[in-house]
Symmetry: C2
């Protein structure tokens, strides 16, 4: 299975950090390959979109399958699939963002915690009910932050 | 960018259909590579998880960048990134499911609209507020169904 970038993230967020949840307000741009501009038509009608991207800075020598959630040691080690660490067998990121504007092949979005230069793999419209779970619960060790 | 399957979907959903939204109640299993079982530890504390998978049946000769949403011609053609068609430049699927049970390397989930045999690429915990958008809106042409 091989992937091709459909675009690239342009952001002031330049370095990995454990504080990604603080990025809910950051405004960034997604520059889509101009040859794919037509595939964006109609997206501007949605308030939110889902960005699937490649975590290109996620290179780790460490092969362990557990980590501390958000760098917090208190809850103990958790499996990589139980946390949102970029250190994953397949370094795929998924973030729900607010779509502020589409200008041709450029999407201006809010809340994208992808590092500048991240290859974008897919853009999907956010569909309430399908993408959300109104009754979702998380374990006590998850700090939902602000 | 290359991917490796971390597991496989086992489901009674065997053929592609435009009626995926009707699959909210289907129960399926995700069989994760036993070598990665440790990476699932802690996931059982979440009520919902996000499944990222490969749309392995999504092979199209047609190279057009637009399609009819959910096979419905009434709204006209929309860009591939504005709909949830499996026909995407990178055939990556993303579904939020209810996690019913984890038994070792097997996740029993509800609402997974991936076809039987789909390679699974990633499992992420669903985090309300981060993955959801309470004020999200969609265009009139999106039929949210039931």
């Amino acid at each position: 299975m091989t992937l091709q970038a459909i675009g690239t993230v342009r952001s002031d967020f330049k370095e990995p950090t454990a504080e990604r949840l603080g990025l809910k307000k950051i405004v960034a741009e997604i520059v889509i390959d101009p040859q794919l501009t037509e595939a964006l038509e109609g997206l501007e009608g949605f308030s939110h979109v889902i960005v699937i991207y490649w975590l290109h800075c996620a290179v780790y020598d460490d092969k362990s399958l557990k980590t501390y959630p958000m760098g917090n040691t208190a809850p103990g080690l958790k499996g990589l699939f139980a946390v949102r660490t970029p250190k994953r067998p397949n370094p795929i990121g998924k973030t729900t963002v607010r779509l502020l504007e589409r200008r041709g092949n450029i999407l201006k979005v809010q809340g994208l915690d992808a590092i500048d230069g991240s290859p974008v793999l897919d853009i999907k419209p956010y569909i309430p009910g399908y993408d959300s779970a109104a009754d979702a619960t998380v374990p006590d060790w998850v700090n939902l932050g602000e």
